[in-house]
């Protein structure tokens, strides 16, 4: 099957408490799964297992129907876009250079790369003519995050991993980027796993939401189901954001 599937996946270092414990989940080809939970719950580890930055200690992770152990790691990572928490734009490359990185590694023809860069800049709402040649340190935090997303989408990977992509932004910019993300996702239809500790963000972006706690996936469901859940731990997470989510849906 397309998308990403975790089958009874555990991960941990020998002699230490497990970081992930028996995780099973499925994300379809055009679906967005948002993982929510406090820091240390194991959310980022889930992402790193998808693009084989880590291999599971137990169970298996399947991407595009194939076990990550059977993937060539380089090929796998070029088919999985990754937006990391700290953005990690390369300071010695321009905005265009950053976005064009994977297409260049894949040896796309030059004019095709240029066209793709323009297309992505337009997609993320940055005017290509004025932004393509800028340098990362000339951008605002929000603009950098957008370029990070564009870079991850550049080679049109079927899977996109996003680790707190809007984490370090002010609330207004964050709202705006979340809206744009929904717009983009509607157009590009990727299998997306997005990690956040913000329940409001999870409710706003997820087709489905997974709640993590202490290395376990304790609850999975649609935003509707989660709002109606009577699980005490889920309710506790919801309490903090409920007013926000209500005003959002009103």
């Amino acid at each position: 099957m397309e998308g990403v599937e975790f089958r009874h996946v555990s991960y941990g270092l020998a002699g230490r408490p497990a970081i992930l414990d028996d995780i099973s989940l499925t994300v379809g080809a055009a679906q967005t799964l948002v993982l929510v939970g406090s820091s240390g719950a194991g959310k980022t580890t889930v992402l790193k297992l998808v693009n084989r930055l880590l291999l599971p200690a137990d169970g298996e992770v399947r991407v595009q129907g194939r076990d990550t152990r059977d993937w060539d790691p380089i090929r796998l990572r070029r088919s999985v876009g990754y937006v990391i928490q700290e953005v990690g734009l390369f300071p010695h490359l321009s905005v265009a250079g950053n976005i064009a990185l994977v297409p260049r590694l894949e040896r796309w023809p030059g004019d095709q790369i240029d066209a793709r860069v323009r297309q992505l800049l337009e997609l993320i709402g940055l005017e290509p003519d004025s932004y393509a040649s800028r340098w990362p340190d000339e951008l605002s935090g929000g603009q950098r995050q957008r370029v990070g997303v564009a870079r991850a989408l550049a080679a049109d990977p079927p899977v996109l991993l996003m680790d707190e992509p809007f984490g370090a932004l002010d609330p207004i910019t964050r709202r705006q980027l979340q809206r744009e993300f929904r717009r983009i996702q509607a157009r590009v239809e990727k299998c997306v796993i997005l990690v956040t500790h913000d329940m409001a963000e999870a409710l706003a972006l997820g087709d489905r939401i997974g709640v993590m706690e202490g290395g376990r996936l304790i609850w999975v469901g649609t935003p509707q189901q989660i709002v109606e859940s009577d699980d005490a731990r889920v309710r506790a997470l919801l309490e903090s954001v409920l007013p926000l989510s209500r005003s959002g849906s009103a």
């Binding site: 693009n51 790691p73 090929r75 953005v87 990690g88 734009l89 300071p91 010695h92 340098w135 991850a152």
Partner: protein, 510 residues
């Protein structure tokens, strides 16, 4: 200052060659240090446990004084010996530390999120290195190269001691002739070179660190690279003289420089063979090694020195017997003692001319009687040598007013002339004897062993070029002690060029 400019003007061609040699030594050694050091540092960042020991070893290498390093390398084939190759080895070793260290720092200080982004985007380790790590570490690497190159400019001056050429030649020549003009003639361009290298690479480093415009980074790199290439090509053209068929060496004092020129010019005149000069080598041991390994083909040695210092035999008195012994010892190691040049550069016991005339002093016996009222000054070596002061005092029953003063050999001539001491032991052929009106007392009891000046050549060279042997045998007995003293005087007192002095001598003697 005027003298200095005059020197540069009259030695323009030579100065250009020496600068070119110097630049070549620096550029080649620094390039090699980069080629070795950067991969080594990259390897160390991949194996963090190796990084500390690696930097430690490089650190230790850095602390070895360069002269000692040349000494270690003398007997080692391929990378050692005498000449530019050994010099390059030393300069490369010195350059490694700053380059390795700065490369390691440059790579390890890259933000972890940037490396993670690269890996997560599916870069292979090679792509990550070439496209991310090296470009980001470049300013730091260039900073290391700058330090290495400036160190190389300094160390390369010392390389003249083993005949590698470069501006150090003037410094050593000046030191051996006690001529500060010649020292400055080499030291000032060397210092300027260091400043230029430092400034140029600092400019490059700043341009690279300002990573704003990839365009200007590329331009800066291109400017630097083409400049370096142009300098390299120019230097190569200037420094690459026709390879000499015969390499003539000499030790590092005035008389040896003149003798080296006499030998070189004699071979050039008589045989027409191209001759390469490696004059001013840093002492007896280096000349001997160089002759043994074939880095030089011929140089002039003194029989007594060969006997005691090179072959560690007890001193002997009879000149013919000493020549025989030394000839056999050289023959055992594939070297041929040619015909003695005709003078004996022994120690000379010297007094002021005025004293000698007033008191009628002719021999050392004459002075022994009045010695208890006199003060003596000797060089450190003379006080220590088995054929030096202790034996002299015993042979002649010498006793001075106070224990002899230790002083620099070259300065002792002036100390005697100005009356600070009354008797010294100098070189019999020293030019200053005439210049300062000093008188040499006769060694009437024949205490000093003979120090006949004689060219030593590699037997294999003479077999290949028999006419070289004929040419040098032609110098047999041609240089008297008076001739040598006069030539030393011309160099030390009148500051004439050793090559000109040698040319005049050969023209006249023809």
């Amino acid at each position: 200052m005027k003298a200095l400019v005059g020197f540069w003007v009259s030695h323009g061609q030579e100065l250009a060659t020496l600068v070119a040699e110097h630049v070549l030594l620096v550029v080649i050694s620094t390039t090699a240090a980069v080629a070795i050091g950067v991969p080594l540092a990259i390897f160390a960042t991949r194996r963090p446990r190796l990084a500390a020991p690696l930097v430690g070893v490089a650190n230790i290498v850095q602390t070895i004084p360069s002269l000692a390093m040349f000494g270690f390398l003398l007997p080692i084939p391929l990378i050692g010996g005498v000449g530019a190759r050994a010099a390059l080895t030393v300069l490369v070793l010195y350059g490694l530390l700053p380059i390795v260290r700065s490369t390691i720092v440059g790579i390890t200080s890259i933000d972890e999120s940037i490396r993670l982004a690269g890996v997560a985007m599916g870069m292979t380790p090679g792509e990550l290195l070439r496209q991310i790590e090296l470009p980001l570490a470049l300013p730091s690497i260039v900073a290391g190269i700058r330090v290495a190159a400036v160190v190389a400019v300094g160390s390369a001056t010392i390389a003249a001691a083993i005949g590698a050429g470069g501006l150090g030649q003037y410094i050593y020549r000046g030191l051996s002739m006690v001529d500060s003009t010649v020292i400055l003639a080499g030291a000032i361009p060397a210092a300027l070179l260091a400043l230029i290298v430092d400034g140029g690479l600092l400019w490059l480093e700043r341009r690279l660190a300002a990573r704003r415009r990839t365009g200007s980074r590329r331009a800066a790199l291109a400017v630097a690279a083409s400049f370096a290439l142009a300098v390299l090509a120019g230097s190569a053209v200037l420094a690459l003289r026709a390879p000499g068929a015969i390499v003539v060496g000499s030790k590092n004092f005035t008389e040896q420089l003149i003798l080296g020129e006499i030998v070189a010019q004699t071979i050039e005149r008589e045989t027409g063979l191209p001759v390469e000069r490696r004059l001013n080598l840093g002492g007896t041991l280096i000349c001997d090694r160089a002759l043994l390994t074939g880095d030089i083909d011929v140089y002039v040695e003194y029989t007594g020195t060969a006997l005691t210092a090179i072959f560690h035999q007890p001193a002997a008195k009879d000149p013919e017997a000493v020549i025989g012994t030394v000839r056999d010892l050289y023959a055992d190691s594939g070297r041929t003692l040619l015909a003695p040049l005709g003078y004996d550069n022994t120690f000379a016991i010297l007094v002021r001319g005025a004293d000698a005339r007033a008191r009628g002093l002719r021999t050392i016996d004459d002075v022994a009687k009045i010695a208890p009222q006199w003060r003596a000054g000797f060089g450190y070596e003379f006080l220590e040598r088995p054929d030096g002061y202790p034996g002299l005092a015993k042979t002649y029953g010498l006793m001075f007013r106070s224990p002899p003063q230790v002083m620099d050999l070259t300065l002792s001539y002036r100390a005697l002339a100005s009356g600070q001491v009354d008797l010294i032991a100098g070189d019999a052929t020293a030019g200053l004897i005439k210049g300062l009106d000093l008188v040499r007392l006769e060694d009437n009891r024949r205490y000093f062993p003979p120090y006949d000046a004689v060219p030593i050549a590699r037997a294999s060279t003479l077999l290949r070029y028999p006419n070289v042997q004929d040419a040098l045998e032609g110098l047999s007995g041609r240089i008297s002690a008076g001739d040598m003293q006069e030539m030393n005087h011309a160099a030390d007192v009148q500051h004439e060029n050793p090559a000109d002095i040698a040319r005049r001598f050969l023209d006249r003697a023809r």
